[in-house]
């Protein structure tokens, strides 16, 4: 009996994912976003695992197992090559293949920042925002004032300052993003909690004597998360863009690791229109990834917000 129930629930989950995919694909732009995001996530998982394995097994060759060339191999005779069938994106000043570098750097320059920052921001924002909306009073007032102050500075510029204070390393950049990124989520969760709080089932749960932790997760978090998922999908793109801006300016770099924003900035400083492929292809890669998240997030917002005719 229990087995059947479990089976049905698993089946229900798979079916609901399939129905979501069908729902999203009704809009061609949404379908395009879904394809880009899926490809990006798959590649990040594969390449990220390979890089982790390479560093764990101390066998760097694993890191470029799937890439056309070794992204670190220098070939000074073949420097500054135009894009061709041999090097699809051309080569840089040390003759390294740009396509391999771009593919190698995707987990570091896009996937890690996006997922770490958005997920941490959602967690922090949920705890603070839901507690502010639910408890109200002075805690709400203080928290809203603090988010006001955070939101009064452009997030990226505050993140630059914090990561420079944190010695401008890659982890420093991630920390600085988490510090500046949670206020928006706290705002969103608070607004949603205020809406949900007035509903009858919360009052019923309170009367029933549900423990605060259960109330938080099962009643408030689950019921406020829907619009935030749609926003978070857009926000993955925002974080990727923001990280690339910081890398372009020269913050959050890791020596010995190619990063998309850094490659673009090197291409610019070596002479932009002359070596156009060096600056343009890494930037266009970021454009495509961010575009995928923006299209998918827009479509999700339409579906969840009820604006789309589906």
């Amino acid at each position: 009996m229990t087995k059947q129930v479990v089976k049905r629930r698993v089946g229900g989950f798979a079916v609901s994912i399939w129905s979501w995919i069908k729902l999203i694909s009704k809009d061609p732009a949404g379908l395009l976003g879904l394809i880009i995001v899926t490809a990006f996530i798959l590649w990040s998982i594969i390449q990220g695992t390979l890089e982790l394995l390479a560093s764990y097994l101390k066998d760097p060759g694993l890191g470029w197992l799937l890439l056309p060339y070794n992204p670190f191999a220098q070939n000074l005779a073949g420097a500054f090559q135009l894009p061709s069938w041999v090097h699809l994106m051309g080569t840089d000043y040390m003759g390294r293949d740009l396509l391999s570098e771009v593919l190698y750097s995707i987990p570091y320059s896009a996937a890690y920042p996006a997922f770490l920052v958005v997920l941490s921001a959602i967690l922090i924002g949920a705890v603070l925002g839901i507690s502010a909306g639910y408890l109200g009073g002075w805690w709400d007032e203080v928290l809203m004032r603090v988010t006001d102050a955070f939101l009064s500075i452009p997030a990226i510029i505050l993140a630059i300052a914090i990561s420079v204070l944190l010695k401008a390393s890659f982890t420093g950049m991630i920390y600085s993003f988490i510090i500046v990124w949670w206020p928006i989520y706290a705002r969103l969760f608070r607004a949603e909690t205020l809406r949900v709080k007035a509903m009858d089932y919360i009052a019923a749960a309170q009367l029933y004597g549900v423990s605060p932790l259960r109330l938080f997760f099962k009643y408030l978090f689950i019921n406020t998360i829907d619009p935030i998922i749609a926003y978070a999908m857009l926000d993955f793109g925002n974080v990727i863009l923001a990280a690339s801006i910081l890398n372009f300016i020269g913050v959050g770099l890791q020596p010995g690791l190619p990063i998309l924003g850094e490659m673009a900035s090197e291409g610019v400083s070596w002479g932009f229109p002359r070596y156009w492929w060096w600056a343009l292809f890494p930037s266009i890669t970021i454009l495509i990834i961010a575009l995928g998240f923006v299209l998918l997030g827009d479509r999700l917002q339409d579906i969840i917000g009820g604006r789309a005719a589906y």
């Binding site: 500075i153 452009p154 204070l165 932009f272 930037s283 970021i286 575009l291």
Partner: protein
């Protein structure tokens, strides 16, 4: 219009802005003290990377870095409000003096970009909303989705490539710098080079300055255009679905009059708050654009400060950016109060 309640409204908004500024300063203060926990580490922030131990200790004494935190915070507040941000360890000049040289240069090309974004974005947002799900709507949406999701340096690079290199022989637009460096600088009167040159009737300088401004303004405009137009379209859509717009149709007004007189005028009110958001966003665009165009403003000194390991400078620049956004927010609040009298009461 300028009644007593309006004065009260302005005063209340002003107090609000000051409180936001105070919390901002407190936040920055806490951040710095959370990262640099000991007085000596703090002294290194003020003294630069190459200071000796003796120098650090004199700085600890001089700046009272070993005092209790609340004393330090009060000292810091007094310093900020008297315009004293200390000496820069690299330039050996007061921070405020350095920043006040670069801030006007960024603002002179940023403010026109924001105005352009607001004008064009509002208009195109209204056009897209009025022609919802027609080809012109799709065209505008496709355009803003692309500019929104492209990194600002890509936009700046493409603008540079197309207008300064490919079309260079026809447009004669410069690719870098903010003015022809061979021209004599105008005397410092207001501190804003463009305004100083206008006051002095130094038209050659003004001409060169404006010509250098075109491409950066275009880049920042294209960068902030996406976010603004998307919201303008949504706001106009909401307005067009409201009752008074239906009433206007029922009255028999033509579609053009309804959309661009009734609808747009009412959509303008919520859009005022978006101007601040655009202003804040443009700061990011301006930073990157300055790097691409070698335009010597705030973004340029930030990158220089990053490479010369000068966190104090980056910190103070951020403070100035925050203050500028708070001031912009204050002005937008007042505008909102003028446009929509209902806001004054709450």
């Amino acid at each position: 219009m300028a009644g007593r309640d309006f004065v009260v409204f302005v005063i209340r908004r002003f107090i609000n802005a000051v409180i936001t500024l105070l919390i901002l300063l407190l936040l920055m203060f806490i951040l710095v003290h959370a990262i640099y926990t000991t007085p000596l580490a703090l002294a290194r922030l003020y003294a630069g990377p190459h200071a000796t131990m003796a120098q650090l200790e004199t700085i600890v004494k001089e700046y009272h870095l070993d005092a209790p935190l609340y004393v330090q915070f009060i000292n810091y507040l007094v310093d900020v409000f008297t315009g004293n941000l200390g000496y820069d360890p690299i330039y050996k000049e007061p921070e405020v003096y350095i920043i006040m040289q670069y801030l006007p240069i960024t603002l002179t090309f940023m403010i026109p970009a924001v105005i352009l974004t607001v004008l064009v974005g509002t208009l195109l947002g209204a056009v897209a909303a009025a022609n919802r799900n027609k080809w012109i709507d799709y065209l505008i949406r496709a355009f803003y989705v692309f500019t929104w999701s492209s990194p600002p340096y890509l936009i700046a690079l493409l603008v540079l490539w197309v207008f300064a290199y490919l079309l260079g022989p026809y447009t004669h637009l410069p690719a870098s710098g903010y003015v022809n460096p061979l021209l004599p600088k105008p005397k410092t009167i207001t501190g804003w080079p463009l305004i100083d040159a206008i006051i002095e009737h130094n038209w050659a300088y003004v001409d060169s300055y404006l010509v250098h401004m075109i491409l950066p303004v275009l880049s920042v405009f294209l960068y902030s255009f996406g976010v603004y137009t998307r919201m303008a379209r949504n706001v106009t859509l909401d307005v067009l679905e409201s009752d008074y717009v239906r009433l206007a149709y029922i009255k028999g007004l033509s579609r053009r009059v309804v959309v661009y007189r009734v609808g747009l005028r009412n959509a303008l009110i919520p859009l005022v708050t978006l101007i601040v958001l655009t202003f804040a966003l443009s700061w990011t665009g301006a930073y990157v654009t300055e790097v691409v165009f070698s335009y010597h403003g705030m973004g340029y000194i930030t990158t220089v400060a990053i490479t010369s390991v000068d966190p104090l400078m980056v910190y103070d620049i951020t403070l100035f950016v925050g203050i500028s956004v708070i001031i912009a927010n204050f002005i937008a609040d007042i505008l909102y109060g003028i446009l929509d009298p209902r806001v004054r009461i709450t």
